[in-house]
Amino acid sequence: MNYSAEERAYLWLCACTQTDYRERVALLGRAPSPVALLETPEKYFPAVCKGEACAYHSEREKREAEADAFLGELARKGYFAVTLVSDAYPESLKHISLPPLVLFGAGRRELLEKRKFCIVGSRIIPPWAEKLGRTMSEEIAEKFVIVTGLAEGGDNAAIEGALPSGNLISVLPCGLDECYPAAHASLKERIRRGGLLLSELLPSETAKKYSFHARNRLLAGLSEGVLVLAAGAKSGTLITANCALDYGRDVFALPHNVGASRGEGCNELIKKGAYLATGSADILSAYGMERTQKVRQDLTPDEARALEILRETGEMHTAAIAERMGMPAYEVSAILSALEIKGLAVKAGGNQYSAVS
């Protein structure tokens, strides 16, 4: 991959100098062009980085070599970088607070240009929400690129739904070399092959407490809208939703049972004016799109009846459904697992089932 002189200077500034975000922005503001920073840093650095004696290498040749070495390293690892001045830099990100100067990516670069929609949820989410999230992600991925993180629960549902189509961007809270949570290393590799991994951090940086917060602003910033699958009253997922509101994005939330602690945040969002979504059609229609109709599945009379009962009651125990249907529980569990395989019901643990639209 080829980088322009400007991009190269940007990358040098971000990767090879001892500066923080604020200083970099100030430096870029003072210098007529980023290239000038690389060529004559002594003109600009002293005014910005007070007290920092060696924020950069004093010899120009060394600086050039550093920049080349860094670009070489990126190429060797199969990563690409997009800077604020690159053409590929997502337009939507430029308007958020503290837009990242550089984005590092691995995978399908072209996804950055497509329309994006964010799906998030807390790490522990009810099985029905996970299942529904997966289905919705799969369906929305037909029109949008799904943006999400890499954690368990809500992120995982979004990933599993969208990954088969490849329309998936996963924004990491750490550098591209790292993986958080570590248990998702193989998932991360699957996304690198099928979708796109993004990070604003240098490849070797590890996740810090604050990086999740910072990452969440990117999720919202990249996307046209955010769907919250499940969030507790103090869930980190709400940070993404709040960012989305700040940036003027649409916020959607799944409604949860009153009193269910894992859904309080969602209900609170809806109260404050977020769109209530119960299926992908709600989201797509908000953008004037329609879902490509799926073929309706054939159900046996028993399956149809069980589904009807489930829809009527929400969550229900197998034995209770069996009683309603007047059949032995084991036959009903066969019917319910048929519904589960057809994607119409989901097992919620403790032999409870619930219907999925």
């Binding site: 057809k342 643990g349 409870q352």
Partner: protein, 506 residues
């Protein structure tokens, strides 16, 4: 004069003949024992001396040498006492004209001359009978288990004196009657499925598990009756045949855990605590090798409560016996193979706090904690557990109006019928149950219809099942079809089988 008396020692489950040779010479009184006796055997000197004296017999004040042949196996335990005493009597001319060459003497002596029962008598009798011995003198305390041997003259004696009187013919002991084996004769268990309230899913799962010989994992919050359900497993398993009962009795006899009734009539139910060591599970011992929990559960159920709490190495040790039905233990005392064909039933909480998936309480575990907890059980072990079922944590009364609960007897009838179908099917394959089917048998007997095949494929895509789940789902579906007396595996059987694979999804 030299006397030779036959006695037996155990090597694993096999009895090995040991000749006790005694030589009484004139000379300075002494008492030497040779032929690799261990401490308990050497101490027989004191017991034999007192027992002889207290039975009104004479302990020869001569130079005595006792040899145990063959000399290369280690002799352990007090079972040689009677043989030593008899050979001393014979060598010191106190049993003139009595033929003791074809009789096997077994038993431990008390100081007053009483005979004490010994562990592992039945396996010894069975081996000795195989070696051609048909006449035995045994402690009366062992009569119950000896009764089942049949085809041999077995004389139960209470004291050394009565043995001598029997031998010289003044007061013959009546030989034991052969007992007829009756399954459940010694039934003491009060477990019955009719006492299990609710749990329709788990009840069905244990029925399938027993019918097809599948291993079972029950997942549920603490205090929901997992153990109670597991205790019902033996009550619905097929009755023991005499051969099975003898084999189980042999193991229990060697381990010294045989009850009063002498022969095992109920399928064993073993519940080793989760602090159990690998050796206690597999079997072992310092010198001689004793059977472990896996062998004691042979023919019955090995119940592991709180599966993830067991040591990893202990659980991994289960894998090979689960496959082969036997375990080979090597120790300094020798290498022994014990049978270990048991049904594994395990239970665990869904997560460290126990409330994952509960409708009433909230789980406070993080996904990482749950993952760590479940990772304690390895994939290869889970591979060998065909059925996984969730045990409900809610009061059944909340769900249905108290329906009559089926008793173990009714369930057992269905299980027996399914087992008969399997026996006929596998007549030439050399296996007994669906769970033992290999790839070839699955191909031969579990042909799925096109529809069934499609269901499985859809299930894999939708439910994110692991690839190795396929064979197990088919085997379970076969058993469900057998319970249904259906020749073919129908779609509903496959659907139900899929619903017992919850672990693969999480």
């Amino acid at each position: 004069m030299i006397a030779k008396i036959v006695c037996y020692t155990l090597l694993g489950l096999e009895g090995v003949p040991v000749e006790v040779e005694t030589d009484v010479n004139r000379g300075v009184p002494s008492y030497d024992m040779v032929g690799l006796p261990d401490t308990a055997v050497k101490e027989s000197k004191e017991r034999v001396r007192s027992a002889l004296k207290n039975s009104g017999l004479l302990f020869p004040m001569n130079r005595i040498t006792i040899n145990f042949a063959p000399a290369d196996i280690r002799k352990e335990g007090a079972g040689f006492d009677l043989a030593v005493a008899i050979s001393l009597l014979k060598a010191s001319d106190q049993l003139v004209g009595v033929n003791v060459g074809d009789t096997v003497f077994l038993g431990e002596l008390a100081l007053n001359g009483d005979l004490r029962p010994i562990a592992g008598l039945l396996p010894i009798l069975i081996s000795a009978k195989g070696h051609g011995f048909t006449r035995f003198v045994i402690p009366a305390g062992n009569s119950e288990e000896a009764r089942y041997l049949g085809g041999a003259e077995i004389y139960p004696a209470k004291t050394l004196q009565s043995v001598v009187r029997h031998l010289v013919g003044t007061e013959p002991i009546a030989p034991l009657d052969t007992a007829v084996f009756v399954p459940h004769a010694g039934a003491r268990t009060s477990s019955d499925l009719k006492f299990v309230k609710g749990q329709p899913m788990a009840r069905r799962a244990i029925e399938i598990a027993v019918a097809g010989g599948h291993n079972l994992l029950m997942i549920g919050p603490p205090g929901t009756g997992k153990t109670m359900l597991a205790r019902c497993l033996p009550t619905i398993m097929p009755d023991l045949s005499f051969e099975e009962a003898l084999e189980i009795t042999k193991i229990h006899s060697v381990a010294g855990v045989l009850g009063e009734e002498g022969i095992v009539t109920e399928r064993p139910f073993r519940t080793p605590h989760h602090t159990a060591t690998t050796v206690s599970m597999c079997g072992g011992g310092n010198k001689t090798v004793h059977p472990g929990e896996m062998s004691l559960a042979h023919g019955g159920v090995l119940f592991l409560d709180e599966l993830p709490e067991y040591q990893r190495s202990t659980l991994e040790a289960l894998r090979q016996p689960l496959e082969d039905g036997k375990i080979t233990v090597s120790r300094a005392g020798g290498t022994v193979t014990f049978p270990a064909r048991f049904m594994l039933c395990a239970s665990m909480n869904p997560c460290p706090c126990g409330n994952f998936g509960s409708s009433e309480r909230t789980c406070t575990c993080t996904p990482a904690e749950i993952r760590r907890y479940r990772k304690k059980v390895s994939g290869p072990l889970l591979d060998r557990i065909d059925l996984q079922v969730e045990v409900d944590d809610i009061a059944y009364d909340d769900l249905t109006a108290g329906a009559e609960q089926e008793s173990s007897k009714a369930v057992k009838e269905r299980v027996d019928r399914a087992r008969r179908i399997q026996r006929n099917r596998f007549e030439e394959s050399g296996i007994l149950t669906n769970a033992e089917m290999g790839e070839r048998e699955i191909a031969d007997f579990c042909g799925l219809s096109r529809e069934g095949d499609e269901i499985l494929r859809a299930a894999f895509e939708r439910m994110h099942l692991s690839a190795r789940a396929r064979g197990r789902i088919i085997k379970v579906a076969r058993t469900i079809a057998d319970l249904d007396s259906s020749e073919e595996i129908l779609p509903k059987h496959v659907f139900e089988a899929v619903s017992y694979r919850i672990y693969d999804k999480i």
